[in-house]
């Protein structure tokens, strides 16, 4: 499988669901080839020495396998999910601290009884948004993109982040907000 050239079209969510539902090792290998070098690069930008970043990236990918059942494609893209695992690993290893997560809201799709076709559109919304967001990030002026990246690398010392980025964050927030509202309504009915 050609991974780097075809990455725009690769359906990461489908690969991760294959890991989740069928313990598919070939799908895992494809995810690894794409995401492990990105996690390692991200951690090195965060100031992690290369050897530690290599170990962490391997741990992050192993976690992806172990926690595949927690992946919910309606909630986040695969890239977003990998980012949160990598961030948490950095907190564990580098800061020797603990990440406190909010109360888990059962998103309703990742459980044992997945709602088969009903939310197919919703499932791929997160991946589509992720693609759009990545394109928008790449299109930003270099200085502005660097500010955002530094914020995620944990290096905020080089100046202030701009209030307006022009990134399509409002759209994503609206979708999540609506999904949360629907979820709360369903929870209240239980």
């Amino acid at each position: 499988m050609s991974l780097e050239t075809g990455s725009q079209e690769t359906d990461w969510a489908a690969l991760l669901l294959a890991v989740r539902d069928r313990a598919d090792r070939a799908a895992f290998a494809a995810l690894f080839q794409h995401f492990a070098p990105r996690v390692k690069g991200f951690l090195m930008k965060s100031g992690t020495p290369a050897a530690v970043a290599e170990d962490c990236a391997q741990d992050v990918m192993a976690t992806l396998w172990q926690k595949a059942h927690l992946f919910d494609p309606a909630k986040a893209s695969v890239a977003t999910w990998v980012f949160t695992i990598a961030r948490n690993r950095r907190i564990d290893v580098l800061r020797k601290s603990r990440r406190v997560e909010p109360e888990d809201l059962d998103w309703g799709l990742g459980g044992d009884v997945p709602d088969e076709t009903a939310n197919q559109v919703e499932i791929y919304e997160a991946e589509e948004e992720a693609r759009d967001l990545g394109q928008a990030l790449k299109a930003l002026p270099a200085a502005q993109r660097a500010l955002i990246e530094r914020a995620y690398w944990g290096d905020r010392s080089h100046g202030e982040l701009a209030a307006e980025t022009g990134l399509p964050l409002g759209t994503i927030k609206s979708r999540i907000r609506l999904a949360l509202e629907r979820l709360r309504r369903e929870m209240a009915r239980e």
């Binding site: 990105r38 601290s97 948004e129």
Partner: protein, 218 residues
Amino acid sequence: MTGNMTTIRHHLTDAVLGDYVAGDLPEAFGLVVAVHLSMCDDCRARAMTLDALGGAVLEVGDTAEMGVGALEAVLGRLDAAPARVAPTSRARGVLPAPLVDYVGGDLDAVKWKSVGKGVKQAILPTDRLASARLLRIPGGVAVPDHGHRGMEMTLVLQGAFADGTGRFGPGDVEIAGDELEHTPVAEAGPDCICLAATDAPLRFRGLIPRLAQPFFRI
């Protein structure tokens, strides 16, 4: 948790939320943020949006080549099938799930210690960059001076308090720098129970200026 049934008026700032998403907050502040997100869908949507941006940063960022045999090494340590862990349960009592973990139970499991004037507190175990405590203040009582050096985040779990800057009810969070001189008073009625975090005892390089920096607004 019934936090979403009440109107939350005081939310997390962009700066604090951005630091939480980037993984830069000391554990005690991270706990306050996680509890607020458990009660406030608006801030949760903002946090998830910032997570999505983190995903984009990861996706379009520079790659670093993995070592030879890295994939084989990881494949070799994978279990036969991904684990099937039951989803975490939702809190059903007064305390949101992240706090239940720290207390070891709901409100009745808190080991309160009196600090005078009927006020009680319970220190929660966190890393030493900042400290977190639960405070229980009888209605009508002023919060004793708790040394406002550095940053303090106070989140109301039950009851309400008011100070010069406004009224804070369940789910509301007050984020105060050392410039704020205030005397919070618990509203008459049931005890006001708050989660408070402060970095006063052990303060590390440049946290306050960084937290005061604006993040992008969403």
